[in-house]
Amino acid sequence: MNIIQTHGLTKSFADVIAVDRLDMAIPRGVVSAFLGPNGAGKTTTLRLLLGLTRPDRGRVELFGGSPAASAFTRIGALIETPSLYDHLSGRENLMATRVLLGCTRADEDRVIEQVGLTAAADRRVAGYSLGMRQRLGLATALLGEPELLILDEPTNGLDPAGIQDIRNLLRRLTREHGISVLISSHLLAEVEQVADHVVVLHRGRCLFQGPREALHRAGRARIGVDRPEEAAAWLEANEWSVEPAEAGTLWVIADTQSRRAALCHRLIEAGFAVDRLEPEVSSLESVFFNLTGFFDLTESSKNEETA
């Protein structure tokens, strides 16, 4: 069962579409990651999931139902920068949230220890480094023992050791406590190391969603045909994204086995002779840039046609 599901989620700000007809499913019990460049719509999507912003269209399902107040007892969240009261100590900041959640002092001590802030807990937050603030924000999100943790760029501002600690913590929370984690990130390495499930966002659109291993195979497939230029024109006319490759072959975006099978089948039906079809297995980085690059190319050619 999916812990989060969105249906046609759309949100615009003035004339900018931040999230565009997003259909997304986040599985339970794993670390999922929103991957996308700055401005891809990651934070807006998280805000929509948490009810901080209302969608123009579409809807969100949390824990298999409409988001109700009771759902938020099961969620811990950290959106953008942590919301911390600088004039209070780290412990007092946690206390302000703890009393609202009805948690105990022991819970407070537990999360302080979990994020490694025991020594600095009684210092004023105004003197905290960016990394310490991030840890305290994470501790606040962990306070109510949530089933779902939603974290917006959780390793922002952390030093390498801190980043590793947080990544280990997230994996441990999933493995040992069954907590589902959804993080947003623009760091490919982070997603590579932490995420089991990946959603690639670009310009508010979902370009890929599925297991991380599948993302490595996502994106391009090289196809050899007898008349490459004609085949490219035919594929573009039929809404496939195509780029010429070397020696009479084409790169085509076909991210799943069924999509590749359909590509082959349609080409043969259209009268082309297909002599090879191989999915590209490449690094996450190259897959990501292929996906977003293809998207940009397709969008700009559409715009040119419209103009």
């Binding site: 009810g51 901080l52 919301s83 949230t97 609202l100 009805g102």
Partner: protein, 250 residues
């Protein structure tokens, strides 16, 4: 609701709110006490010395200081959330948003009561010191406490509309300028209106505390605390409804 208020109490620790609450009444009372100390024999009747000190201070406080103080203190309370971008954290917690809003309103009312009780204490302290330093002025006998406490509670209730509107504006606007400017404009307008038309000024919500304090010297008019509290509660409900339905931008 108790949890919300406990959280608010924690957030007020070491904030700038408490020094403002404690110092404001003492500064104002000191001004009137110095006036009495240096020039008291010219205008003070020994049998009315306490009445003069209490009523003059209360009138000035309710008419000029309190509206500006409410603007400043509600802005400061709201700034605790704005500076920390606290609403995006609070609004994803499993606590009804209206409770969080109501918590801010109650804090406004509570702080107003604290400052009014502080004013009452400051008046007693100042009068006692004057009685010791200048016994001839008539501050030797201690005044009755009950009317002073009634005055403090009544002024708080009569300020209900001010507290409600300033809390709302300060929570909606993240800049300090808007709520402070509203306080200035409204206070100047009520003072100006009072100078020109004493009949019309009673309809100005910022005049409710002054009208109440004025009545303390004659027949007590409970209508002002009641109107202040009722309009304040009504505005708080409408403003709260609009506040909880909006998107959280910060």
């Amino acid at each position: 609701m108790t949890r919300v208020l406990r959280a608010e109490w924690i957030k007020l620790r070491r904030s700038g709110v408490w020094p403002v609450c404690v110092l404001t009444p003492y500064v104002i009372v000191l001004f009137f006490a110095l006036f009495a100390y240096f020039d008291g024999e010219r205008f003070l009747r020994p049998d009315r010395a306490w009445t003069w000190l209490i009523m003059s201070t209360l009138r000035f406080f309710a008419g000029v200081v309190l509206p500006l103080w409410v603007a400043a203190i509600t802005a400061q309370v709201a700034a605790i959330e704005h500076r920390s971008r606290g609403f995006k954290h609070l609004f994803v917690l499993p606590v009804a948003r209206w409770r969080l809003y109501l918590g801010k309103q109650i804090v406004g009312w509570g702080l107003c009561l604290v400052v009014m009780l502080g004013l009452a204490v400051a008046l007693l302290v100042a009068g006692s010191i004057l009685g010791w330093l200048r016994p001839e002025l008539g501050f030797d006998a201690f005044p009755e406490l009950a009317p002073l406490l009634v005055g403090a509670f009544g002024t708080t209730l009569a300020s209900g509309f001010l507290i409600a509107i300033h809390t709302w504006v300060a929570l909606v606007r993240s800049d300090l300028m808007t709520p402070i400017a509203l306080g200035f404009v409204a206070t100047i307008s009520v003072v100006a209106l009072g100078a020109f038309d004493a009949d019309l000024v009673v309809f100005h919500p910022w005049a409710y505390p002054t009208q109440w304090v004025k009545s303390l010297d004659g027949t007590i008019e409970l209508v002002w605390p009641l109107v202040g509290a009722a309009t304040g509660a009504l505005l708080a409900m409408v403003a709260g409804w609009s506040f909880v339905a909006r998107d959280v931008e910060t």
